[in-house]
């Protein structure tokens, strides 16, 4: 296997408060290969957005990276000084956020923002940068880019704005893009267009994407692999088809069963009792143990590590003992 | 400040309050703690003036002209009496005068804040909740009000009231006129703030839920909206208390406030400034100092309160 574009090892993020030190991310590890889309799903409080912020070095105090490393194409970036990190962001890591308006300055024309970004990261002159901006807008599917480039953000519809943001993220030809809930603010019909666009762009350009969202449907359609997060840890990670169709981790099973689908005929949805623990009250052992139907003694004391099961990795004691327990779990799945 | 460490279990109401975020933010700001203690001290001293003051400065029988112009902490040249902060020309004890004076200043301040708060919150609530022409009318009046300096409005109200009240009652009515004058010059700020918060709150769906069960506008405003717009009002009221005390002092200094028979801090300062260049500095200095400390400490507390109640700054 060739070198991954992004490699995260034991990344830990803590928030220091007056009462306690809260662990928002607890030793998470994953790789993203070239041209791959890794979906990161989880419910609110799972730590999926913190993961994105930690990778691009945008954890604000009182939060801090308390351990682990982030390696971008073989180069460690989590310990870079702020100035060097600023160059990595934008140049080597592109960002797409939920609300396009947070990425676009309403006072400047779309073209000005694109050209400025292009010129910051390349040595193109003004007219070449403009040509490139137009080409980018064309590539992300904005009709009549020669004319639209001089428009202001408010003259674009929600979907078109998100396209502009994608163009902005592509300006410096980054090797890696973090898309944090890129379609959440959009209508269903537009959502599909943006998903298709992201998919097409990473195929054509070989860009890797970390797609952070709470919407399993979006992940199912877009991602190659998926990481399911729970209480700051990765519960299960693997090829999207397997994780969606036959989840192994009890939480992932519950999650997939809880989602109403356009097919099938479930009278009742699978219900996971309780809710995600607050950061200040994560139980010892496996964080999911109070809600888990298959809990046993070990889960209360020992934190499960990610262990390989076929193509995937699962953090669950059920799969640790190849004997009776593991077998039972396979049958239950 | 090591008194209320939470006991093992179960924590009482006081201990829980002590451990709350707002109490923590209070504890961790020494300036606020100092200011609050100072303000409390000044207010308590003013309230308890008759108990603390060594003399009754406004009992003509107790005044002795030969006590006049005693220097602070020095025995009087004729009578040998010691006045802590000196005495004025009539032999009045400055310390006692300040205690009684701040009593009146604070009374006028607090009453006028309450007066403007009731008017301002009421109008702001109606403007925000009802909207339309009612809102436009109320807010334009508030705009006009705000475009005049507060002191000018107060002078105007004071002048009009003077003209309307028969001279025999004037002295006794001064306190109420002053409260009305200062109160009327400050209500617009409350109205604006409350209208803004009401506009936000009335669009929250808990208001819809209340309307769904058939509640009329007034119950919705008073039971649902008002408790949720009270935070900013509290902040303005605190800071306005300091402003009202200063405003009262200004009016009294200009001679349109409290009469010499019931002097406030402002009245005392007016008397004092006549002696500034004749060497009796203490008559001016001490009342002024108390006024400054009072306004400053209340203001510092208000500043902290604003920050503590504003979730954005936390």
């Amino acid at each position: 296997m060739s070198q991954p574009v992004l490699s995260v090892r034991d990344l830990t993020v803590e928030f220091v408060t007056r009462r306690a030190t809260l662990r928002a991310l607890d030793k998470i590890s994953f790789d993203i290969a070239r041209g791959e889309v890794l979906g990161v799903v989880g419910e609110s409080g799972a730590g999926k957005s913190v993961t994105g912020s930690a990778i691009i070095g945008l954890i604000d105090p009182p939060g801090r990276i308390a351990g682990g490393e982030v390696v971008l194409s073989g180069e460690r970036v989590d310990n870079l000084p702020p100035d060097a990190m600023r160059k990595v962001r934008g140049k080597r890591i592109g960002m797409i956020f939920q609300d396009p308006l947070t990425s676009l300055n309403p006072l400047y024309r779309v073209g000005e923002q694109l050209i400025e970004t292009i010129q910051t990261h390349t040595d193109l002159n003004a007219s070449d940068a403009r040509k490139r901006a137009i080409a980018l807008l064309d590539e992300v599917g904005i009709p009549a880019p020669e004319r639209r480039i001089d428009g202001y953000p408010h003259e674009f519809s929600g979907g078109m704005r998100q396209r502009v943001v994608i163009a902005l993220a592509l300006c410096a030809e980054p090797e890696f893009i973090i898309a944090d809930e890129p379609t959440t603010a959009l209508d269903v019909s537009v959502q599909a267009q943006i998903i298709a666009l992201i998919k097409r762009l990473c195929k054509e350009r070989g860009t890797s994407v970390m797609l952070v969202t709470h919407d399993m449907g979006v992940i199912a359609e877009t991602a190659d692999r998926v990481a399911v997060m729970y209480a700051g840890r990765i519960a299960e990670i693997g090829p999207v088809r397997e994780v969606v169709k036959q989840p192994l981790h009890p939480y992932a099973k519950g999650l997939m069963g809880a989602i109403p689908s356009l097919e099938g005929d479930a009278e009742r949805l699978v219900q996971i009792p309780g809710s995600m623990p607050r950061l200040s009250a994560i139980p010892p052992g496996c964080a999911f143990n109070p809600r888990c139907a298959q809990v046993f003694a070990r889960c209360h004391v020992e934190r499960p590590e990610l262990i390989p099961v076929g193509d995937r990795k699962v953090a669950c004691h059920l799969y640790d003992e190849p004997g009776a327990m593991g077998g039972k779990a396979e049958i239950a799945a | 400040m090591t008194t209320a460490v939470p006991p093992a279990k179960p924590p009482g109401r006081l201990a829980r309050w002590w451990d709350s975020d707002i109490a923590f933010s209070f504890r961790s700001s020494p300036v606020t703690v100092m200011a609050t203690l100072l303000a409390l001290l000044l207010v308590l001293a003013a309230v308890a003036a008759p108990l603390i003051a060594p003399y009754d400065p406004f009992d003509p029988a107790s005044l002795d002209l030969s006590d006049g112009f005693s220097k602070p902490m020095e025995p009087n040249e004729i009578t040998g009496k010691v006045f802590w902060l000196g005495s004025d020309g009539q032999g009045r004890d400055i310390f006692s005068a300040i205690l009684y004076g701040s009593r009146i200043s604070l009374l006028v301040g607090a009453a006028s804040v309450l007066f403007s708060l009731v008017i301002g919150v009421g109008l702001g609530l109606v403007a925000g909740y009802v909207g339309g022409r009612t809102e436009a009318l109320i807010m334009r009046v508030a705009d006009i009000q705000l475009s005049f300096p507060a002191i000018l409005v107060a002078l105007l109200v004071f002048g009009v009231a003077r003209g309307l009240i028969p001279p025999a009652l004037q002295e006794r009515a001064t306190l109420f006129v002053l409260v009305a004058a200062i109160g009327l010059s400050n209500w617009a700020q409350y109205a604006r703030t409350v209208r803004g918060s009401t506009l936000v709150e009335k669009n929250k769906v808990y208001v819809d839920a209340a309307r769904l069960i058939g509640l009329k506008a007034w119950p919705v405003m008073l039971k649902h909206v008002l408790p949720n717009v009270a935070g900013p009002v509290l902040v303005i009221a605190t800071i306005n208390l300091a402003l009202a005390v200063i405003e009262e002092a200004t009016l009294s200094f200009l001679g349109v406030g409290m009469p010499p028979t019931q002097p406030s801090l402002g009245t005392l300062i007016r008397f004092g400034q006549q002696y500034l260049f004749s060497g009796e500095w203490w008559i001016l200095l001490f009342p002024s100092l108390v006024l400054v400390l009072l306004a400053l400490s209340i203001n510092l507390f208000g500043d902290w309160l604003r920050d503590a109640l504003n979730p954005k700054l936390r």
Partner: protein, 331 residues
Amino acid sequence: MSEAPLIQVRDLRRVFDVSKPWLNRVLENSPRQYLKAVDGVSFDIRKGETFALVGESGSGKSTVARMVVGLLPPSDGTVSIAGVSMNDVNVAQERQRLRRRIQMIFQDPYASLNPRWRVGRIIAEPIRAFQIIDGEADILARVGELLTLVGLHPDDAKKFPHEFSGGQRQRIAIARALASNAEFIVCDEPTSALDVSVQAQILNLMRDLQQKFGLTYLFISHNLAVVRHMATRIGVMYLGRLVEVSEGKSLFSNPRHPYTRMLLDAVPDLAMVGKAREGVKGEIPNPISPPSGCTFHPRCPLVFDRCRVENPPVIDGVACHAVNEGRVAAA
């Protein structure tokens, strides 16, 4: 099915004045602008069923919900409950009697509970307003009963809303809706602010309560999968108009209006892992100046001349010239 419907909505319209302020209109010489949020919507809801309205932003589904419960007066049209129209009731007492039968559950559980009130007082408010139970002790007992019903503890009555998670708050909102013994509950995106595992809990709870009390729901959502799971019948809205009404799951097996088809094609779904899909054209037009004729015509693959000028009526559950003229195989 021969029973008269519980709720009848007839030709409901709502126009909002979205003009700029008077001074701007004079200075910029711009005319008044109106937004037709809801443009002639009619439907029936039978007792005990879940009727869902589904649509994207700007479709007017929430405006319909607010008019049905009486939070917003319609510009035109009527809403009647068991044959009695809200407009016809002039006596305050009668009006309260009607109100008592309708309740609503809102989208944002963080804004739907007064943050300064304890949960017990919040749930007791409808009981007091409609004078359902007298006596503090009895009211308290009823509040405890309602909390248990929605899966909370009677002691939770003493807490404030901020002590609960989003899902628990939505349970409290449901308890409040049940407090007046309402028979018809309008649910405006009740789970779209919640996480999926919590959403499943709430949807299951709503179903259980429906079976237990024979409740009738008007269910508003943009999420087709949730609607499919919950609804007995479904109405699809586009730009203020009802374009298709269909019996529950047949909308998904046999969508007829071109917009419904497009929408179904667009939804990301678990079942779609690794499948390719057709692209969706265009975005929702600005509702202030909607397209002429059938408002969907600029995005419609079946468009022809008539669609550009004439607004299609709802015939047999579909508002589409192409379907009504039989130009598309309705399968």
